[in-house]
C-alpha cells in the first residue's frame, strides 16, 4: 500500500527539485572550470612561445614550441639533475619517515609505558609550532656541521613528522590487540610482532601515509631553498623558482617547468586518488 502511495509523491518531489538541481549543476560547473582551467592554460603555455600567453583574444590551442621550450628550460636548469634530486630526496624521506613514524605510532597506540601521554601531547603540540620558529637554528646546525648542500640536510629535520605519527597512531589503534597478545604468547619478539604481524595488516594506511609524506617532500620549498645553494643540488621547486628571478623571463620555458612539476603528480593522483585523499586527510576524519 505504501509503495503505491509513494510513486506520485516522488514524481512530484522530483519536479519540484528540478530548478534546484539546475542551479546546483550550474554552480558546480563554474567551479569545475575554475579548478581545471589553470591546468589547461599551463599546458597551452608550455607548447607556445612567450608572447602567445598575452594575446587578446587568448591563444587557447596548443602550439608547436613544446620541444623548443623544453630545450630552453634544460639550458636554464639541468632538468634531469634537479628532477633526480627531488625524486631521490622524496623517496629517501618516505622510507625513513615511515620507519621512524610507524615505530613511534605503534608504541603510542598499542604499548603501555610511563610518560606515554606526555610524549603524545608533546608531539601534538609541536604540530602547532610554525616552521619559521625552528628555521634559523636548524640552518645554523646544518651549517656548522658542514651539511649544507647535502640530501641529508633536506630530509633530516622532518623525518620525525608529528602529523604522520598522529595519523598512523589512529590507524594502529584499530588493530586488534588480541592478535598482538597471541603472538606474545607464542614467544615472538616485540620487533618481530611489529614487523610480521602488525605492519602487513597496516599496508593500506602505510600506503596512504607514504603518499602524504611524498607530497610533503616533493613540494617542499622554503627549507630546501635555505640549505641548498649549489644549483646542482637544487630540488625541482627551488630550480623552478630561480627561473623567475632571471632578468629576462621566457614564459614558455617557465610554463614548461611548471608543467613538469605538475603533470606527473596529477597522473599519480588520478591513478591513486582514493589513497591520495585518505593520505592527505589521514583517518583524522573518516
Amino acid at each position: 500500500m505504501e509503495a503505491v502511495k509513494s510513486v506520485p509523491m516522488t514524481q512530484e518531489k522530483k519536479n519540484r527539485k528540478l530548478p534546484q538541481k539546475i542551479g546546483m549543476y550550474a554552480m558546480l560547473g563554474i567551479f569545475l572550470v575554475v579548478s581545471i582551467f589553470p591546468f589547461y592554460w599551463m599546458f597551452i603555455g608550455s607548447t607556445n612561445e612567450s608572447g602567445k600567453m598575452f594575446t587578446n583574444p587568448p591563444t587557447l590551442l596548443p602550439g608547436t614550441k613544446l620541444v623548443e621550450n623544453y630545450q630552453n628550460l634544460n639550458s636554464a636548469i639541468d632538468v634531469s639533475r634537479v628532477l633526480f634530486n627531488s625524486l631521490f630526496v622524496s623517496l629517501l624521506y618516505v622510507v625513513s619517515a615511515l620507519i621512524v613514524c610507524s615505530l613511534a605510532a605503534y608504541a603510542l597506540a598499542k604499548l603501555e609505558f610511563k610518560g606515554k601521554n606526555l610524549i603524545f601531547t608533546a608531539f601534538l603540540l609541536s604540530m602547532m609550532i610554525p616552521y619559521q620558529a625552528t628555521l634559523i637554528p636548524l640552518f645554523q646546525m646544518m651549517s656548522s656541521a658542514g651539511w649544507l648542500n647535502t640530501y641529508f640536510a633536506v630530509i633530516a629535520p622532518q623525518i620525525c613528522y608529528p602529523f604522520a605519527i598522529f595519523l598512523l597512531r589512529q590507524n594502529f589503534l584499530a588493530f586488534p590487540t588480541e592478535l598482538i597478545e597471541a603472538a606474545r604468547l607464542d614467544g615472538a619478539s616485540e620487533l618481530k610482532i611489529f614487523a610480521k604481524v602488525v605492519m602487513p595488516a597496516m599496508r593500506p594506511s602505510l600506503a596512504a601515509a607514504s603518499i602524504f609524506l611524498f607530497m610533503t617532500q616533493w613540494n617542499n620549498f622554503l627549507w630546501p631553498l635555505v640549505v641548498l645553494n649549489d644549483s646542482s643540488m637544487h630540488t625541482f621547486p627551488v630550480a623552478l623558482s630561480s627561473l623567475m628571478g632571471l632578468s629576462y623571463i621566457d614564459y614558455g620555458q617557465v610554463m614548461m617547468g611548471v608543467s613538469i612539476a605538475t603533470i606527473p603528480i596529477i597522473i599519480f593522483f588520478l591513478v591513486l586518488q582514493k589513497q591520495f585523499i585518505s593520505g592527505m586527510l589521514g583517518s583524522a576524519v573518516k
Binding site: M24, K116, F139, N219
Partner: protein, 283 residues
C-alpha cells in the same frame, strides 16, 4: 617477565631523538637567539632590543597587517566555499559526484611554487584573466602592480589551491550526518538555507574548527605564494611575516632579529588557536 620493560622506549627512541634534536632544541635556541645580537664574530645578549626594534620597524607592521588581512579574508571565504561545495556534492540529487570531487581536489596536489608561478603569469596586466574580463566589459585589473589587488591576487590564488582540500575534509564529515535529520527538518518546513545554518554548520563544528586551525597555522606562515607570486611587492603590500623572516634571516643574515619575528608568529598562532577553540567551545 622475561621481556624487558624498556622495549616501548626502543620503538620511540628514533622519533624522540630526532624530535629533540630537530624540533625541541631549535624552538628553544630560536627563543634564546631572539634576545641576541651578532657582534664582533659572536652572539651577545641584546636584551629586549630585537623586540624594541620590531616595535619601531614599519616593514614589520606592514607584514603583520598584510598577514592579518590575508588571514581574515582568505580563511573564511575558503572555508565557506568548501562547505557549500561539500554540501552540494553530498546531495542526493547529484550525479558524477566522484568526478566533481576529484576535479575540485586537483589544485591541492600541485606544488606551491608551481601554482604561484602559474598564477603570476595568468594575473599579469596583459594576462589571460584580464583578457577574459575584457569580454565581460571589465577594464584591466592591476592584479600584481597595485597594493590592494596584489593582496587580492594572493587570496585568490590561495583559495584556488586550498578550497578543494578543505571540501574533502568537510565532505568526509558530512557523510556522517544522518539523512533523517534533514528529512525531519524538511517535514517541519525548514528550507535549504535554514537547514544549512541550523543543521549542517552546527554538525560540522568540530571539523570546521579542525580545518580552521590548520588554515590559521598555514596562513600565518605564508611564504611560498608571496615569494613566487609577488615577491612581497609592490612596495611591501604583500610582505608577510614568513617572507620578512626569510629576508632578515637569509638575505640580511640578522638571525637574532629574524628569530624575534618568528616568535611573534608563534605567539599569534597560539592566540588565534586559543580564540578559535574558545569560540567553538562556547557555542
Amino acid at each position: 617477565m622475561s621481556r624487558s620493560r624498556l622495549f616501548p622506549y626502543w620503538f620511540l627512541a628514533p622519533a624522540l631523538v630526532l624530535f629533540l634534536i630537530f624540533t625541541v632544541y631549535p624552538v628553544a635556541a630560536s627563543f634564546i637567539l631572539s634576545f641576541q645580537k651578532f657582534e664582533a664574530g659572536s652572539y651577545a645578549f641584546n636584551g629586549l632590543n630585537n623586540y624594541i626594534r620590531l616595535f619601531n620597524d614599519e616593514i614589520f607592521w606592514t607584514a603583520l597587517k598584510n598577514t592579518f588581512i590575508i588571514f581574515v579574508f582568505q580563511v573564511p571565504i575558503m572555508l565557506l566555499l568548501a562547505i557549500v561545495l561539500a554540501g552540494a556534492l553530498n546531495s542526493q540529487l547529484l550525479k558524477l559526484k566522484g568526478f566533481f570531487r576529484v576535479s575540485f581536489f586537483l589544485p591541492a596536489v600541485t606544488s606551491l611554487v608551481a601554482y604561484s608561478i602559474l598564477f603570476s603569469i595568468m594575473l599579469q596586466e596583459e594576462g589571460i584573466i584580464n583578457n577574459a574580463l575584457s569580454y565581460l566589459g571589465i577594464a584591466a585589473v592591476p592584479w600584481l602592480s597595485d597594493g590592494f589587488w596584489a593582496k587580492a591576487s594572493i587570496i585568490l590564488a590561495m583559495t584556488w589551491r586550498w578550497t578543494g582540500y578543505n571540501m574533502v575534509i568537510f565532505l568526509a564529515a558530512l557523510q556522517n550526518i544522518p539523512e533523517e535529520i534533514y528529512e525531519a527538518a524538511s517535514l517541519d518546513g525548514a528550507g535549504k538555507i535554514r537547514q544549512f545554518f541550523h543543521i549542517t554548520i552546527p554538525q560540522l563544528k568540530p571539523v570546521i574548527l579542525f580545518a580552521g586551525t590548520l588554515s590559521t597555522i598555514g596562513t600565518l606562515q605564508l611564504f611560498d605564494e608571496p615569494f613566487n607570486l609577488t615577491k612581497g611587492g609592490p612596495a611591501d603590500s604583500t610582505m608577510t611575516l614568513g617572507l620578512y623572516i626569510y629576508q632578515n634571516g637569509f638575505e640580511y643574515f640578522q638571525f637574532g632579529y629574524a628569530s624575534a619575528i618568528a616568535y611573534v608568529v608563534v605567539v599569534l598562532v597560539a592566540i588565534l588557536t586559543f580564540i578559535q577553540f574558545k569560540v567553538a567551545g562556547d557555542r
